[in-house]
Amino acid sequence: MMISIFTALALVLLLGWFGWHRTAIAVFVLNLLFALFVFWIHMTDILVINY
């Protein structure tokens, strides 16, 4: 889950570098929203891992 956030950041970098300006911005915003969601999951412990 966390790796997808960093992969999306790499995608923003690559999209921005190769001229996909608006797509890079869209991925940036969506990624930040997803990161906020991951933070909420962590904060609420809503995903309980059973060993």
Binding site: I3, F6, L13
Partner: protein, 168 residues
């Protein structure tokens, strides 16, 4: 003025690049593995860098500064959460303090500082800065390389630590 502003944008990337590189050093040499909140703070830092990265590539836009500010606010929220988790007397701080202050508190300082720095860059904003650059000087190239390094370094770190799943 245009080159000064572009170099200041690159400076923000370099500062965060060095901060995250230092975090890599602590992770590798001191053995302090980052927690999920630590990774999310790194996401905030890289998000700040990506906003000003778009300034370097496409020319300065107020919108790009807005993206960086959102990244800084996000990082500030995460670091505040981690500070509050360890605030009560008797609770042990996470990780070894650096110069007496925990890393997540230092992270909070960097996010506040970046908001102030971006505010100064907005004061310096002029319309002629919107022109896309034709080339990059050595400092801007170094900033871009450092950004590449910290992003892919974190992908490697998260991949080795957490795999594809949830970071515990």
């Amino acid at each position: 003025m245009v080159s000064l502003v572009r170099n200041l944008n690159a400076l923000l990337i370099v500062i965060y690049g060095l901060v995250i590189s230092a975090a890599f050093g602590i992770q590798v040499f001191a053995g302090e593995v980052p927690c999920p909140l630590c990774y999310l703070q790194r996401v905030g830092m890289i998000s700040v860098c990506l906003g000003v990265f778009l300034n370097l590539v496409y020319g300065v836009r107020v919108f790009h500064y807005g993206l960086s500010l959102i990244g800084a606010v996000f990082g500030g929220i995460i670091s505040t959460r981690q500070i509050l988790l360890h605030l009560c007397p008797g609770t042990t701080p996470f990780g070894e303090p650096v110069f007496g202050i925990s890393l997540y508190t230092w992270a909070f300082f960097t996010f506040v500082s970046s908001v102030i720095f971006i505010s100064i860059l907005l004061f310096l904003y002029r319309h002629e800065q919107e022109e896309a650059p034709k080339s990059y000087n050595w400092f801007q190239k170094f900033a871009l390389f450092l950004l590449l390094f910290i992003i892919f370094g974190n992908i490697l770190s998260v991949g080795l630590q957490c795999g594809l799943g949830y970071c515990e």
